[in-house]
């Protein structure tokens, strides 16, 4: 029982990271129709932004986190200007291949800057351990779950309670009609990329202390975030959250109760099962076309 509590919290923590990565992925997909193959590298950049600010520059926690997230926001804006804006009139497949190219570039740039030796990114709460029902639980895992819940609540407020968010949802549905409402469409599209980069940054900062910071960590994250969106329902924000948590839990529980060698097999096996049986995912919306 104590093991199970520990595993559940750890599964929720890693699942939260997948969920944030998946939310960033879904925000970009619903706003622009682009499947961002660099999404995993965004998270890797988030982790290494933490490495640069906290380990290399030795900044104190709040300043270091703030600087890392600011860097990620700027990176999201840069990504929009360098990749999306010049290609926005091209077929969406061209942009998708562009994200692949930039993803490869990002990984190699990180390799060049930080080397192949992994880093250990610290956590401000790593010395805190909680005991619940006899189970020892890492403070970082709990913090990750809390921060993710907070981010989800903030995103909900943004999308459903502010005109900025309503504008972003309008742009995601019909760009021409949004222009006719006087909305500054390019600015709102840029905001989608910035938001995705920020969420990936938060995911990366939280993932660093759980995994080693390694420049090749992007691809496994991308695959897990992708599995999460398939399971939850492609393009659905609640789906990204549920899918992310589900993948995290199945991975941790599978590794513990079945075999750690098969943990990926379990999460991807479930994804394939969903593709076969319920391709629209848990929160499957009917297929809709974009105007």
């Amino acid at each position: 029982m104590t093991d199970l509590i520990q595993l559940l919290i750890n599964g929720l923590a890693i699942g939260s990271v997948y969920a944030l990565a998946a939310i960033g992925f879904v925000i970009v997909y619903s706003a622009t129709g682009v499947v961002n193959f660099a999404a995993g590298q965004f998270v890797m950049f988030g982790t290494f932004a933490g490495v640069a600010m906290l380990l290399n520059a030795q900044l104190p926690w709040p300043v270091g986190y703030g600087a890392a997230l600011l860097a990620m926001a700027l990176f999201g804006a840069l990504f929009f200007v360098v990749l999306y804006l010049p290609l926005r009139a091209s077929p969406v497949v061209t942009i998708i291949i562009g994200t692949v190219a930039i993803g490869i570039t990002m990984q190699n740039a990180a390799l060049l800057a930080f080397g192949s030796w992994p880093f250990r990114l610290p956590s401000p709460v790593e010395s805190v351990n909680l005991t619940i029902a006899g189970a020892t639980i890492s403070g970082h895992a709990v913090a990750v779950v809390i921060v993710t819940a907070l981010m989800v609540a903030l995103l909900w407020l943004l999308f459903f309670r502010t005109s900025l968010g309503i504008g972003m949802r309008a742009v995601a549905q019909d760009i021409k009609a949004a222009r006719l409402m006087g909305l500054k469409v390019n600015r709102l599209l840029a905001l989608s990329w910035i938001l995705a980069a920020l969420l990936a940054g938060i995911a990366g900062l939280m993932l660093g202390p759980m995994w080693f910071a390694d420049t090749s960590m992007g691809d496994p994250i991308a695959l897990k975030a992708f599995a999460a969106t398939i399971i939850g329902g492609f393009g659905s924000l609640p789906g990204a959250i549920v899918g992310g948590l589900f993948v995290g839990l199945s991975e941790v529980l599978g590794a513990s109760y079945v075999s750690s060698a098969y943990k990926d097999l379990i999460s991807f096996g479930i994804m394939i099962l969903f593709l076969l049986v319920r391709p629209q995912g848990v929160f499957g919306e009917r297929i809709q076309d974009r105007g």
């Binding site: 309670r161 502010t162 005109s163 309503i166 504008g167 949802r169 309008a170 549905q173 019909d174 021409k176 009609a177 949004a178 222009r179 006719l180 409402m181 006087g182 909305l183 500054k184 469409v185 809709q288 105007g291």
Partner: protein, 245 residues
Amino acid sequence: MSLLQATEIAKRYGGLAALADVDLSVGEAEFVAVIGPNGAGKSTLLNVLTGLALPDKGRALLDGWDMTRAATHKRVRGGLGRTFQHGRPFERLSVLENVMTGAAIQSGRSELELRERAMAVLDQMGLAAEAQLPIGSLSYGHRRMVEMCRALACEPRVLLLDEPAAGLNSAEVDQLVDRLTDLRTKHRIAIVLIEHNMGMVMRLAERIIVLNFGCKIAEGTPSEIQSDPAVLSAYLGEGYRHAGV
């Protein structure tokens, strides 16, 4: 001086001249209808005026401002509003949220002001009771009204309407005619109406422009247009003379 002035607008799609040297001028609070058979270039004209398509030739002025190549959102902020032919409300937004996207046109409004402003427009158009509903639960006529409210929330000085009565029943058409009359008389909004419902056009329009194959073939008051030979042959074919019309 006209509020909206388009001169010698031309637009080709491949070998097809969708618009050939079309002029349009609309004065303040004036009601102009653009009619013509399907494919005459009416929607293309609205696309060019709103910047969704750029003309190959010609100029478009809004209150003296040359907007020929301006971005759509700037034209909207300059006082141009438009609805689509088949109605394109934001399906996954509520009725109120749809209208709020338009109300955000004036920057610096608080969220509360945006909501109040959007509610006021819905109230004015008789949709206040449905503010919180998703678009999917509305009747076709009300969906189209939401689109109109959304455009009105942008506080346009010229409203371009692309077949607003299509798919409405006759009671809804009567209601629409009343609302459009109100917009013009009480709110001083100029209206450019594309419509196939000739009864509605003849009741509302002060001036009618007739397009056929991208060319303006006639312009005048409703009674002038009704007796114009070029218009009659465009609509009824050359044989109308023998039909005793």
